[in-house]
């Protein structure tokens, strides 16, 4: 996980988006702290985004999730200004895209921002190759080079044999691969993905997630990835932002979000995720001085990032609390077997212990 340590590649500051005729009034009200519903009641304007501030690091895979209508698509479209933000700024490296003139914006879209769509957005009248080459054609890349880059990208997603096919000859998963190849062929540092896998069958979906992760480990792009599926978010994300009604209600690493939901909404949202792969030794260990000073003989040693599924076998063969060590082998806490057993009983208990 490459988390938020690197250089900031994409920075969103105080972003607002209000839809409708009376968007300015709506923006005013929203700024003064009124909720989406209140604003809609008062002015008829729909608040799409409300005071969003995020910094995304170079090479990070940043996931935005939330229920339908929470503003995910609006957010990602404000980044490349397919939707014009009502207020706030979006910075790419050291350039504010929000202030750009039309041709500068077009140039930025061509050079810096690629996008992959839920509905693929393929051009039905063009072959797969021509589809992948389209953004390059638009960007004025020479014919030979764009063919080369398009073929490379299609090879990367495993569609080298299909370059002459028409989109309607492809299955959904293949179409999305084309969409992905098109985004990759643009060779932009930033890739925006709006629910790229939501329209796909679960099996194909997992394949594509794997492929994305593999690709990401080699190309190391900055990716903003939208999904409404927490399993997917947890699987692919370096960090996750959970949105509701146009606001970010929680932002953090996947296990952080799952184990420490800030409120009932996020908890309900995260209920279906398989916790056992998520609860780590560190999250349930007892690191009080008192515990560390307990009986030390015959202890089983586990690493602090070992997950529940690994802890239990260790616990089953142990008779004393498990001993948790960090990367350098220092003792950082202990897990009494009783506590481990309680963590097993149910997801909620595990989360509760983690939250203790």
């Amino acid at each position: 996980m490459t988390a938020a340590e690197g250089r900031t590649a994409l920075s969103i500051r105080g972003l607002y988006k209000v839809f409708g005729d009376s968007d300015l009034e709506g923006l005013e009200l929203s700024r003064s702290g009124q909720s989406k519903d209140e604003v809609q009641e008062a002015t008829g304007a729909v608040v799409g985004l409300r005071d969003i501030t995020i910094d995304i690091a170079q090479g990070e895979l940043f996931v935005v999730m939330g229920l339908s209508g929470c503003g995910k698509s609006t957010l990602v479209r404000c980044i490349n200004r397919l939707i014009e933000p009502s207020a706030g700024e979006v910075w790419i490296d050291d350039r504010a895209i929000t202030g750009m003139a039309d041709d500068e914006l077009r140039e930025t879209r061509r050079k810096d921002l690629a996008m992959v769509f839920q509905h693929f957005g393929l051009m039905p009248h063009r072959t797969v190759l021509e589809n992948v080459a389209l953004p390059l054609e638009i960007g004025g890349v020479a014919r030979r080079e764009r063919r080369e880059r398009a073929v490379n990208a299609l090879e990367l997603v495993g569609l080298a044999d299909w370059i002459a096919s028409m989109p309607n000859q492809l299955s959904g998963g293949m179409k999305q691969r084309v969409g992905l190849a098109r985004g990759l062929a643009m060779e932009t540092p930033i890739l925006l993905m709006d629910e790229p896998f939501s329209a796909l069958d679960p099996v194909i979906r997992r394949d594509l997630q794997d492929e994305l992760l593999a690709l990401q480990s080699s190309v190391q792009k900055t990716i903003v990835f939208i999904t409404h599926d927490l399993n997917e978010a947890v699987r692919v994300g370096d960090r996750i932002a959970i949105m509701r009604d146009g606001e970010i209600v929680q932002l953090g690493a996947p296990n952080d979000v799952v184990l420490n939901p800030v409120d009932a909404f996020v908890r309900e949202f995260t209920q279906d995720v398989r916790l056992h792969g998520m609860v780590t030794a560190a999250s349930i260990m007892d690191s009080s001085a008192e515990a560390l000073a307990g009986p030390t003989e015959d202890r089983y040693v586990v690493r602090e990032d070992a997950v529940l599924d690994e802890l239990v076998p260790a616990g089953l063969s142990a008779t004393q609390p498990l001993q948790v060590v960090d990367d350098s082998g220092n003792l950082v806490g202990v897990i009494p077997l009783q506590r481990l057993a309680r963590a097993m009983v149910s997801d909620e208990a595990a989360a509760a212990i983690a939250a203790e």
Binding site: L82, T108, A114, G121, P124, H125, I138, G139, N168
Partner: protein
């Protein structure tokens, strides 16, 4: 008139204009509880006024004056702009005559075989049989030359319609202002009875097939403009959004994405245009156009409904064949573009 009173006169006009031009003017009256009673009241009031004024007759009648003024305008145009129409006429006449000669040079069995083959490849076996049978009927009914003349007329009309309508449709798809401006004009072109413009057309272009083409154009152009416009405006937002996200310019959007995707709808417009042109064939014979339409018109004049019917059947056959072929074309384009 001094400035003061001029302004006083303009003010209510400006207000009216604001009212009509405002975006709210495009919506129906909201359904408040008082709307219906007020409506009834309004109507009753106008009844009362009508009876109070005591007359059912409209008090003013300026129709004749305006009509005569328009007549004069047409006369003036005829005398002064005819050189312009004349040059149009010469080009179109050449085009029409060559096309008709070519069609007539074509041996009729070859033409029938070709039509059958086109139907076979594009539409269906059934249509191929039908079209061959229909054309054979026309041939043995002695309508072959007339049929070819009509085909030439239609081809020229449709070609010109497309040449005019498609660019206009594309342009109006890019400009809401133009669209709003064109819409009533297109409505008028389609609903204005052709009798109205027959005489001016003859005055400008003289008798003959060229005038027939022009009169047909007035009727045939609107659907192609509308459908081109619609085809481009109705494109799925997702596809356009994708192209936009690559940083496409307006021009690139239009040429690389919008127009190619709108082709099926544009083809549907061509289909409509063809049928409209055919429906004008008989009327065009009022101003000297020949072909099947003339046969129909002669049948009318001679009170020979049977002969008029046979020639009319020829028009129906041509219409069905052209309709099915252009529809098949549209469907092919549709298939090529559908199911993103």
């Amino acid at each position: 008139m001094d400035q003061q009173s001029g302004r006083r006169l303009l003010l209510p006009l400006a207000w009216l204009w604001r009212l009509i031009a405002s975006p709210k003017a495009g919506q129906p009256l909201p359904e408040h509880w008082y709307v219906r009673p007020l409506a009834v009241l309004g109507i009753m009031l106008s009844f009362l006024i009508a009876y109070a004024v005591g007359s059912d007759e409209v008090p003013i009648d300026v129709g004749r004056d305006v009509g005569n003024a328009l007549d004069d305008a047409v006369d003036w145009l005829t005398s002064n702009v005819s050189w312009f129409f004349q040059s149009i006429k010469d080009v179109m006449t050449w085009f029409l005559v060559s096309l008709e000669d070519m069609l007539l040079w074509f041996p009729w069995p070859a033409f029938i075989a070709m039509t059958g083959l086109i139907c076979l490849l594009m539409v269906s076996w059934r249509m191929a049989f039908g079209s061959v049978a229909a054309l054979l009927v026309l041939a043995v009914f002695g309508l072959w030359p007339a049929t070819m003349e009509t085909v030439a007329l239609i081809i020229v009309t449709v070609t010109l319609s497309i040449a005019i309508a498609v660019p206009m449709g594309i342009w109006s798809s890019q400009s809401d202002r133009l669209d709003v401006f064109l819409r009533p004009i297109l409505d008028a072109m389609q609903t204005m009875p052709s009798f109205v413009y027959l005489v001016p057309v003859v005055a400008f272009l003289g008798l003959g097939n060229v005038s027939g083409v022009l009169a047909s154009l007035i009727f045939a152009v609107p659907p192609a403009v509308r459908l081109t416009n619609l085809g481009i405006r109705q494109l799925p937002a997702e596809t356009l959004e994708a192209a936009e996200s690559f940083g496409a310019t307006q021009r690139q959007m239009l040429l690389k994405v919008k127009i190619p995707l709108a082709i099926p709808t544009i083809m549907a417009g061509v289909n409509q245009t063809t049928l409209m042109a055919l429906s004008m064939v008989a009327i065009a014979s009022l101003i000297g156009a020949g072909g099947l339409g003339l046969k129909v018109y002669q049948g009318l004049g001679r009170i020979e409904p049977g002969n008029a019917f046979i020639a009319g059947l020829g028009i129906v056959f041509l219409a069905i064949i052209m309709d099915r072929v252009t529809q098949a074309l549209t469907r092919r384009q549709q298939e090529a573009v559908s199911g993103d």
